[in-house]
Symmetry: C2
Subunit: 331 residues, 2 copies
């Protein structure tokens, strides 16, 4: 067990104003009315129009800081935890520092594990904060999925939305206070190509973009296979995670899953026997917002009063790679 | 000071076989003979042809592991520290796990601060290793610059090469043994757009690629401005870094800079009064290999016997963002 005494002192979010309803998408895709809700349980999602990831991140960060009457002047380090890059170079964190107009000289860098980036960033950065290297850190997740959707692939294009969330953490001096109790990340080679965007990087440069290979630059997902692979490993993974935190599912006030798919989440919930009040669902309102999904759900759980100080919560999910990751923390 | 008792137990490298000489480039670019060497001090660089970053990474990792008779079965965690992404999704680390054919289930994720990714990754991951979360970690940097060069921009296109390096670290139990003594990272907003690749991410999707905007998808650098901005902050930055390590430049056996530009490095060396034997230069052979630059130079310094157990060394450099970063460690 590697307890780290770290307190989440603030959370914030930014959701782009453009709402895309199921009716909008059912018309666009020639789907029968009600098909999308029935298939994936999402009611609406939001698309970023004319906004960048860094601009959205800056708004989520300001929302978090304002809630505790702070500004970026109170922050030591800025960490990006996104699933997508805004530009190939530099990091989203450097661009977000620019979008914030932050002259103060602090470190800015990214941590990337696709949809699990936030959990991995919390895991890594909490060590630095607990050790005293940084006093107060902002971790943000801001993702735009909407411009890399494959409209020929109905199952995935209806699922995603855009959004941003930010969390401020600081060192906790009370050993009985908030802490990260346990964390775990596992990457399974057999899922390396089940969810990907092949193009855009060094392997398939944008100059190679053609009408014939254009889907290589869009999000591709073998949903069914990913689902089966995840379900094969998730129950044991969660058992191990809770065991290393020395607790049982009954001790958990709120399980906050990556909002990947309502069907998959509901199945996990049923399999583990978790009551609705202990299981956070936001996918209906946001869709799957890639890395922003978990911190957005965390923010909503806290601001709706569903998570209170002293509660044990679990952040948990899957990501392209294929990785399964989770964290038990005392809020 | 935040000492972390961590030992570098192995290093390795992989350099793609295709050598590109100054003569090759002078012919291609219609430059007078000898112009490139005089301008930037690089003799040769290597280009990856038909190879991916993950394949190169796998070779560098195997090189490191073989040097200590280990395999990936001995490793707990795989961390990518690159400047460029191979694909938009998933992480380079997940793709490298696949390239290694590694069935063993361990975490794989990326840390990105462009050319400083390796230093930032060492900084973050060493906390986890020192805390006992992972016993033995591979950090790799594998970058392909050659396919995003702007051949109209002579100053930058002649500078870059491709390459990969890997380092294996583990927890050190002897408090007098190897350790990270101090580290520092600083991001300066005024340099956010001095080095970048605007396209390829969510802001400028590959589908927008046109003859008229094609340079937006290539590496852009305001070399002169970057140089002036770096030189403005580097001397104080290094003074602070050494102070936080409680040592002077005389105590440092080897300063290993990011091989950004020979002119800039020579100027820093002269300004700080560092003798040639304490200053590692590899740019002549490799060019600037983005994030692979520092671990490649570290590997060569160790394998050439220029760095020995117990020596104090400094890893140091600048990256797009603009960031300045450094680390003092006892090898």
């Amino acid at each position: 067990m590697f307890h780290r005494s770290v307190r989440i002192i603030a959370t914030g979010k930014y959701i782009p104003p453009t709402v895309v309803t199921n009716v909008d998408l059912e018309q666009k895709l020639n789907l029968p009315s009600g098909w999308i809700e029935k298939k994936i349980g999402v009611f609406i999602r939001h698309y970023a129009i004319g906004e960048t990831q860094s601009e959205m991140a800056a708004k989520a960060i300001r929302d978090a800081l304002q809630s505790v009457n702070m500004t970026m002047e109170d922050i030591d380090c800025l960490v990006g935890a996104n699933g997508a890059m805004e530009q190939a170079i530099p990091s989203n964190a450097a661009l977000t520092k620019k979008a914030l107009g932050l002259e103060k000289v602090i470190p800015a860098f990214d941590i990337n594990s696709t949809c699990l980036s936030f959990v991995v960033a919390m895991d890594l950065v909490s060590h630095m904060v607990a050790a005293g290297q940084y006093r107060r850190v902002v971790i943000f997740s801001s993702d735009i999925a909407s411009n890399a959707l494959n409209w020929e692939h109905k199952e995935s294009c209806i699922l995603f939305g855009d959004g941003a969330a930010a969390v401020v953490i600081e060192r906790e001096d009370n050993p009985r206070g908030p802490k990260i109790v346990a964390s775990k990340l596992a990457t399974y080679i057999e899922g390396a190509h089940l969810a990907e965007v092949k193009g855009g990087g060094t392997k398939l440069h944008p100059r190679e973009y053609r009408e014939t290979n254009k889907t290589d630059y869009l999000f591709y997902m073998e949903g069914e296979k990913m689902f089966r692979l995840s379900m094969k490993y998730i129950p044991d993974f969660l058992t191990d995670l809770l065991k290393s935190a020395n607790c049982k599912m009954d001790d958990i006030t709120m399980l906050i899953p990556h909002q990947a798919s309502l069907t998959a989440m509901k199945l996990i919930q049923r399999k583990l026997g978790i009551p609705d009040e202990n299981f956070m669902l936001t996918i209906q309102e946001y869709g799957n917002t890639i890395a922003a999904s978990i911190p957005l759900a965390l923010h909503d759980a806290i601001s709706q009063g569903r998570v209170k100080r002293g509660d044990r919560i679990v952040l948990f999910g899957t990501s392209a790679g294929l990785s399964i990751g989770g964290m038990v923390l005392e809020y």
